[in-house]
């Protein structure tokens, strides 16, 4: 939340986006613009289609109608090679961490790194991974398997595995869900640090208003596959809308 004056270069733009699964409508006309090095929060009840939205941005799902442009390119119309190229610029931190469970933590970190930076030599790779793991306080987990880690540790490694590639766009799917306040605080700081240091543009899906308040420049409230409110944290929660108030009440006033 340090970037209250974004430099207005549009990185992601979404217009009239629709998506449904087997006749079950999920997204029903999403419009959204995300500017360079801005942290955008998407807030909404579970099942409202937040994960589907960022999967559409990443090209993991195909839109039914409407357009999703990332860095000027229409994601749904890219061929395999172009999509692969675009994805090297997008980092995706999955809701369930999605660590490769047949690989150690080190191998998880190494997988994309050695594939995307082919001319990085062995010593450099090892150093980068060691530094990244130390930065998230998991320097000694290097040789552990994902099944030996706690939920919070997995989450941090999942995020670190993506951040190590220095993506220009980060998509965080519930980065602090189910974590203790200390770990959550650490993740919030990490998200802000990445924004300042790398000028990364981020979309952060969350239910955690502390996270939203600390990291978000702008908030979008999703309800039944549409955005019903957008603005800064204070603007959004000044609203008396019965669909928005419960989030605030649950997080801060009980």
């Amino acid at each position: 939340m340090y970037n209250s004056q974004p430099d207005k270069e549009i990185v992601i733009s979404i217009h009239g986006l629709y998506k449904s699964f087997d006749e079950c409508p999920v997204l029903q006309g999403i419009n959204m613009e995300v500017y360079k090095s801005e942290n955008v929060i998407v807030l909404g009840p579970s099942g409202s289609g937040k994960s589907v939205l960022i999967k559409l941005i990443a090209g993991l799902l195909k839109p039914e109608a409407g357009s999703v442009k990332v860095m000027g390119k229409e994601v749904g119309k890219l061929d395999k090679r172009e999509l692969m190229g675009l994805r090297t610029k997008i980092g995706f931190s999955f809701q369930g961490s999605a660590l490769y469970d047949s690989m150690t933590v080190y191998e998880n970190m190494e997988f994309a790194l050695v594939r995307q930076f082919k001319n990085m030599h062995g010593g450099e790779v090892r150093k980068t991974i060691r530094e990244m793991l130390e930065a998230i306080g998991l320097g000694n987990a290097k040789n552990k398997m994902p099944s030996e880690l706690s939920g919070g540790q997995k989450k941090r490694i999942g995020i670190a595995r993506t951040l190590i590639l220095r993506p220009e766009i980060m998509l965080y799917d519930e980065p602090t869900a189910g974590l203790d306040p200390v770990t959550s605080g650490g993740i919030n700081d990490l998200i802000n640090e990445v924004q300042i240091k790398n000028k990364t543009t981020s979309i952060i899906i969350t239910h955690d208003l502390t996270c939203a308040k600390k990291t978000g420049d702008r908030l979008f409230i999703m309800h039944n596959g549409k955005f019903i409110k957008e603005g800064s944290f204070d603007e959004v929660f000044a609203s008396k809308d019965e669909r928005i108030k419960p989030f605030y009440d649950y997080n801060f006033t009980q």
Partner: protein, 295 residues
């Protein structure tokens, strides 16, 4: 409907759905599969069957296309060959040895009635190379390897690990599917010959107890009636079974939907469907080779 009409229907229904397969992405993705049509062409059951056939054919086509386009994943291929080949050795050894020993023991009395126990090695050789080794190895591997691949890829799908690979700029079809299918296609033939050898040894144990033959004499007698076509048929069958196990279990695992329950279903289908197909293929390949022998 007889068999032949049925075969003509596959392309017809396939083309019908191909026309509806509007997605432009050339990449394989679960999304590009045809799932539920709005209106059924024949009936729900028959349509679902043909859609599945069409999707599997597309999956197989993509495998062959990706097989020859770089980048290859040599490390992962070796890794999978190790997982699929080496890790099946113990199971194949035990079953192969038992099959050889028991088959010989059970055949002995019938041959003894004619005073023809000296034909035993030759009988064993024919039975093992022509019938038992490819079929039994393939069935055991369908159970061991197929379920493993189905469950592994299935859980990678539902825990979004496949999406994560995709996001890292690596093609998951190449990294996961092509490597595994290649490994099964090359390792099953190796395992078939390994099982044939072990089964011969099992048989030799029985033979050497009753007759005083050396292992060399036994092997020479056993392989005496086996000609080039028999070996060719054996290798072709083994490769086709390997391909079947790889393709079907990868297809089922890669397209898993519906959480943990879906993983169970995928693992189950990864065993049952290849086993069934292996028997069907056995009939066809044996027919083709018999026909080739006579031309």
């Amino acid at each position: 409907m007889n068999d032949w009409q049925c075969f003509f229907l596959i392309p017809i229904v396939g083309l019908h759905y191909r026309a509806k397969d509007k997605l432009t992405s050339k990449r394989y993705s679960v999304e590009s599969n045809i799932n539920q049509p709005e209106k059924y062409f024949i009936t729900k059951g028959i349509d679902t069957f043909f859609i599945e056939v069409y999707n599997i054919a597309k999956f197989t086509g993509l495998f062959f296309k990706d097989l020859f386009t770089p980048p290859v994943e040599p490390r992962e291929i070796i890794n999978q060959c190790y997982e699929i080949g080496y890790r099946s050795l113990a199971l194949i050894s035990v079953t192969g040895f038992i099959i050889g020993a028991v088959f010989t023991k059970q055949s002995r009395p019938s041959l003894a009635n004619f005073g023809a126990t000296s034909w035993l090695p030759s009988l064993v050789g024919i039975a093992i190379i022509k019938a038992l080794a490819p079929l039994v190895t393939a069935l055991i591997c369908a159970g061991k390897v197929g379920s493993g691949i189905g469950a592994e890829l299935g859980s990678m799908r539902v825990s979004e690990q496949i999406d994560a690979i995709e996001m890292s700029g690596t093609d998951p079809f190449k990294y996961l599917v092509v490597t595994r299918v290649m490994a099964t296609t090359f390792m099953i033939p190796v395992l078939v010959f390994y099982m044939a050898l072990i089964a011969m040894m099992g048989s030799f144990v029985n033979v050497s107890i009753n007759e005083h033959t050396s292992f060399t004499t036994f092997i020479n007698a056993a392989l005496g009636d086996i000609n080039f076509m028999d070996y060719a048929s054996c290798i072709v069958r083994a490769m086709v079974y390997g391909l079947t196990i790889g393709i079907i279990s990868c297809y089922k695992g890669f397209n898993t939907a519906g959480g943990t329950e879906g993983v169970g279903k995928a693992a189950n289908a990864s065993v049952v469907l290849p086993m069934f197909l292996i028997f069907i293929e056995e009939v066809f390949i044996v027919q083709i080779f018999n026909w080739l022998k006579h031309v």
